[in-house]
Symmetry: D5
Subunit: 118 residues, 10 copies
Amino acid sequence: MSEPRQLLETFPNQFPHRDYKIEIRQPEFTSLCPKTGQPDFATITISYTPDKVCVELKSLKFYLQSYRERGIFYEHVTNTILDDLVMTCQPRWMKVEASFNARGGITEIVTAVHSANY
Amino acid sequence: MSEPRQLLETFPNQFPHRDYKIEIRQPEFTSLCPKTGQPDFATITISYTPDKVCVELKSLKFYLQSYRERGIFYEHVTNTILDDLVMTCQPRWMKVEASFNARGGITEIVTAVHSANY
Amino acid sequence: MSEPRQLLETFPNQFPHRDYKIEIRQPEFTSLCPKTGQPDFATITISYTPDKVCVELKSLKFYLQSYRERGIFYEHVTNTILDDLVMTCQPRWMKVEASFNARGGITEIVTAVHSANY
Amino acid sequence: MSEPRQLLETFPNQFPHRDYKIEIRQPEFTSLCPKTGQPDFATITISYTPDKVCVELKSLKFYLQSYRERGIFYEHVTNTILDDLVMTCQPRWMKVEASFNARGGITEIVTAVHSANY
Amino acid sequence: MSEPRQLLETFPNQFPHRDYKIEIRQPEFTSLCPKTGQPDFATITISYTPDKVCVELKSLKFYLQSYRERGIFYEHVTNTILDDLVMTCQPRWMKVEASFNARGGITEIVTAVHSANY
Amino acid sequence: MSEPRQLLETFPNQFPHRDYKIEIRQPEFTSLCPKTGQPDFATITISYTPDKVCVELKSLKFYLQSYRERGIFYEHVTNTILDDLVMTCQPRWMKVEASFNARGGITEIVTAVHSANY
Amino acid sequence: MSEPRQLLETFPNQFPHRDYKIEIRQPEFTSLCPKTGQPDFATITISYTPDKVCVELKSLKFYLQSYRERGIFYEHVTNTILDDLVMTCQPRWMKVEASFNARGGITEIVTAVHSANY
Amino acid sequence: MSEPRQLLETFPNQFPHRDYKIEIRQPEFTSLCPKTGQPDFATITISYTPDKVCVELKSLKFYLQSYRERGIFYEHVTNTILDDLVMTCQPRWMKVEASFNARGGITEIVTAVHSANY
Amino acid sequence: MSEPRQLLETFPNQFPHRDYKIEIRQPEFTSLCPKTGQPDFATITISYTPDKVCVELKSLKFYLQSYRERGIFYEHVTNTILDDLVMTCQPRWMKVEASFNARGGITEIVTAVHSANY
Amino acid sequence: MSEPRQLLETFPNQFPHRDYKIEIRQPEFTSLCPKTGQPDFATITISYTPDKVCVELKSLKFYLQSYRERGIFYEHVTNTILDDLVMTCQPRWMKVEASFNARGGITEIVTAVHSANY
């Protein structure tokens, strides 16, 4: 298997008896526009309440870097990161926000949430 | 037909099973004051949860540019953009905010929302 | 009649079927302290949901300028502007906030709301 | 009697039929640490909804200056100002926040509220 | 006994009849990464409503300094500080937030809350 | 004659015995890209020391608005404004700076100065 | 005599052996536009090195307030304040800067200096 | 030929009789660390006074994107961009500044200037 | 002897072979207005190049606190601090800046320098 | 040998024909107060023009971390870092600035420069 999701690693949550929140911010995300091939830049913010495992930060860095040469739309970036992380660490709750730099003077922020019990 | 609304294009929402939010910000909106003919300037912020389709960004840019030579009041700008976008992409929820630069020392922000389930 | 309230003019709300919000900010308000005669300075922020009519901006500018030579306390400024605007345009909801510059090192902000259905 | 609370004066609330909010900010509060005698500095923010009377600003300035030579802990400052003001003007609701400058690299903000109907 | 928690001291809460909030901010927290031994830096923010006792600030400073040479993960820092403080001063409610400086371009904020009645 | 420069008006400098500086900032400049026809946006800052006449502000506003439908490159905007203003009011010294909004993620600021005695 | 300049008072400079700088900032200046009668607002900044006398701050406040009902252009405001202050306190060096709020979207700052030995 | 420098294009400077300054800012520069292969991010600022030609912005964008997959040190980035631009457009003066995002908590800015007459 | 200057202590400069600069900022200075008895607040910034001795920070803190109950004008504060520090540590160069909080809406900054070789 | 200076490594300057500037900023410096043993925190900024060699960033990080457990005064930190770096890489010019966090409400910045040709 070679999918980027496989880059993600986890470690056991040592405080599963408590609902606490982890917020991770990566301001150096870059991918490619699937239409023009031009680079896109975004700040990715991931918030979640871990259940059995937490996502390991270094593996997350490599996972996000795997988008560097992928042609992918804004909405796909956000929903795919959410899907991959949910599948990997099964959080009690998770939100992914991707805030893309302006193109043609227009900025777009896409936000997706997993689970209703927020 | 030649109405500005026809400039708007859409593409299929690939994640219709999930309620997610798209926020688009265009800080370079300009129209004309219908009384004086003088230019007005605003930042337009559009937030929505897509249903079957998403609004295509480049077509949105051209749509917003179509106001450049129109004489139109602040309240009309906001409600017309909302009406045009709602009719075009039938979102589950949508909000349009137009924040106009000061005229005579006075700033005005007009905000309109479509749908009650916010 | 010569009261300042008569300076206020309105125009018909073209979108009465929708509850939308108008926020107006005037950072150049000035009146006089009724005790000392010294000038006071404030930023006035008016938010409202129009019903049948909207307040006309130029007439609002002249109305707010009518306070320039009036001796009036902070609380009166806020409540009087709210009363005058409510009487003039009968909004579904309205809030007036007056944020006064420091005097004796102390800043005061007075906020009053009309209608309970906010 | 010579207690600082006696420095506080009030004036009749002219708009008792309406629940409105007054927020007062004094960024130049100073008292003494009761342990070391060293000066403490804070920003005091008082918010309230007046009932029959409002607190007079100049008397409030003198009241807050009366702490200049008092040795008093952070928590006492906040709760005592709230108690004195509540006793003096019997507000419908009141909040006092004291935000103290860093000592030993540590900042403390103490917030106390009077009345449950907030 | 020699555990860091023993460094924490308390003093009686003089206003137990009132639910008030104390927020403490320490922007100079530093610990070590347990994997690499490299220093980590964070801002720790502790908010709580005291019950019978308040945490003494100087002892808190020494307690937080005790992490200077400890190898400990982000999530442990946050939950351990919360556990130690809850055990020491039994607050009605407490929140601990640790906002760590970027490593590999990625920032992490961990937030944990004690008690449900917030 | 119909050139935009003819829109500029002047008034006599009442303080010619003194070298003083006037700085004018217009953050709402817009023109068109001569290649694509797309709108450009800039902040224009004009600084000068008047000699016999000063530039009249309202006429300057109309002059700058005359670029709204012109296709013109960044460097031409800056140098043409400088040339037109120098020819109109013969200042002792003048600087024009045009700071254009990002296009393709790239921002450009063009600055030109008239006269060597700066 | 009734000219505003007569409002200015001075006190002896106790440190004439040293060239030191005093900078005074008044962000609440207001005058009237001589064409339209509309209020103008500015921040006035006065810097100077005193010689025999310093300008008294309270008298300066009243002097600047005397412009409240005067119709006067931006350039006159700046040069007249400089002339009045130079005549009153004969400083070794003085600079007056008047930064006016935007009108028609355009901001103007006028700066004038007395004496060449800066 | 296939060197990145060949991507750069120029257009004739229409105002060669005047020394004016062009400042270009690209906040989305990214290259790779030659040691680790990890991505680096920087803001590149190029200032110059054109002589016979100006650098064309779109070609500059592609030139800067050519570093996306190159392993190159901070100092080389800065000096190579300067060398390539000087060779291409022979400016009267040019400065290149590369401000790199923090790595290991450390930020580096490299600045190089061409020509002595700065 | 009991003058405040005697509170100042020094320690030997270990790097007298090098001209280096020390800048000290105390944002919590407070004194009294000699006319009204009202408290004044300022930020004091002291910059100097030490010669044989440096000023000891803790003693400087106590020295600046000695102004807490003194009635003294802005210009005296600045020049007296400079005189006391110069006499105590004989620096190669020293600057004192006192930036006072607004009174009557007016802010004053006084700056004095010792020695001409700046 | 075991001195911290030995931690510093260099690499050859590939652009010795050009005077360019490298500015390095480390906001996570920490040492100990030699009197109290309490931790100090500073931002270290190093600027230099390399001659034959540049300082290697990773070794600089370890060098700066070597102060973590050293008791050392502010002035020594700055001058010692400058001495160590000058001895190691013999720059054409170098400046070190250490900006320490407030202690007792007082902030200190120490700046030292090597070489006279600045």
